[in-house]
Subunit: 232 residues, 2 copies
């Protein structure tokens, strides 16, 4: 079966990485169902970005699932813990920061797996990358391989031999500048996306959290200006 | 560190198995935080059972998290698909039934993992069993081992060497009658629990779905009467 005949679930946060992944999956011929999780994130404004990006990309479907991870807390994104600002790239690389959300990618991939199985799909796309990232353990290749192995033991369709689930993380080994160049070449409109962890009440990016700094550095290295940050 | 100093997260549905697991974890000295998922299940009456069981057991905490898996559907428990009634034990063992909820245990264990990490706990208890069960792929030992391996790559506390997550499924190799004998010996009040997939609008057990039949058979083999079904 070629990608043209295949359905995929794409985890879409509304940020730069997942928006690029969505464009990539569509360019490869997948019928894409986008899945966004409203997990009580500080930067809820990204939910509107996800809807804009999904609409512009022409997805086969887009679901937003509510799941309040503030009930557990434990992260600057889901509890009253300040988001760090103005950190150096060395500092980001040196330890796992307080913006890490416990088990978040595992929860998100599990939900994507559930959605895929109900659609009869076996391909799940997600935007993790292990370069130019914030040191999260659930963005590493060994984690993704372990999740994929588990998924193929967890599900009826896999156990009954109907197919094998694949977790696609096509950005895993790309730097932010390469991701931006790739997206720009595919026509991704980054003005629709949102990356900031700590936006103003009006939804404007702060420009100084890890996510903004990585994004700005990426656009700078790609020799482009960031249409979303430029607008704020 | 002995179990006495340890905190655990216990997935508690309000059914017979998870109520027995909760009693077992408490008897081993764990400080137990029960976690119940309101996933839009047909048998929502089990949520009230979970609250009763948690209260009677004397847990350190009990959270009920809402997550509407009806958004994906694909199961008799989360969509308008009839629950099978009156099946033989052979029929149950022969294939994965329509009451299978895609990736449900993976989603639940992921949420338990998130809760555990925010509590600083490394022990997660759940009620899966691979005998006298409905053939679900995510109740098998190889699945649970794969989930545990993945969890230890997914999380900050594991990666930073603070501990190693363990998924405890102490009922995995017990039949239903053994589970009931074990629970009864620990003083579990099974009249508080609910197992039926397809209760009446008033919340009474049907007595003929897979879950009721396995439960009834278990009590019968244990030489006991079922206080919950007897009351209906």
């Amino acid at each position: 079966m070629s990608a043209k005949d295949r359905t995929a679930v794409v985890l879409l946060s509304g940020g730069l990485d997942s928006s690029t992944v969505l464009a990539l999956a569509i360019s490869q011929g997948y019928r894409c169902h986008a899945l966004t999780i409203a997990y009580g994130q500080r930067h809820q404004v990204e939910l509107a970005a996800a809807a804009r990006v999904a609409g512009a990309a022409g997805v086969a479907g887009h679901k937003t699932l509510a799941l309040d991870l503030r009930m557990f807390g434990g992260s600057a994104l889901t509890a009253d813990i300040p988001v760090p600002h103005g950190r150096s790239m060395d500092s980001m690389a040196s330890h796992i920061p307080c913006t890490y959300v416990p088990a978040r990618n595992t929860i998100f991939l599990s939900l994507a797996l559930a959605h895929a199985e109900t659609l009869g799909a076996f391909d799940i796309f997600a935007g993790m990358n292990a370069l130019d990232y914030s040191g999260y353990p659930d963005c590493r290749p060994e984690y993704l391989a372990a999740f994929e192995a588990m998924a193929n033991l967890a599900t009826r369709d896999a156990v009954e031999g109907k197919g094998r689930y694949r977790i696609h993380a096509p950005l895993l080994r790309l730097g932010k500048a390469d991701i931006i160049r790739l997206g720009a070449a595919m026509g991704v409109d980054y003005s629709l996306t949102h990356s900031c962890y700590d936006p103003t009440p009006a939804g404007k990016a702060c420009g100084t959290c890890d996510s903004c700094l990585l994004r700005l550095k990426g656009f700078q290295e790609a020799g482009m200006s960031d249409p979303a940050l430029a607008a704020t």
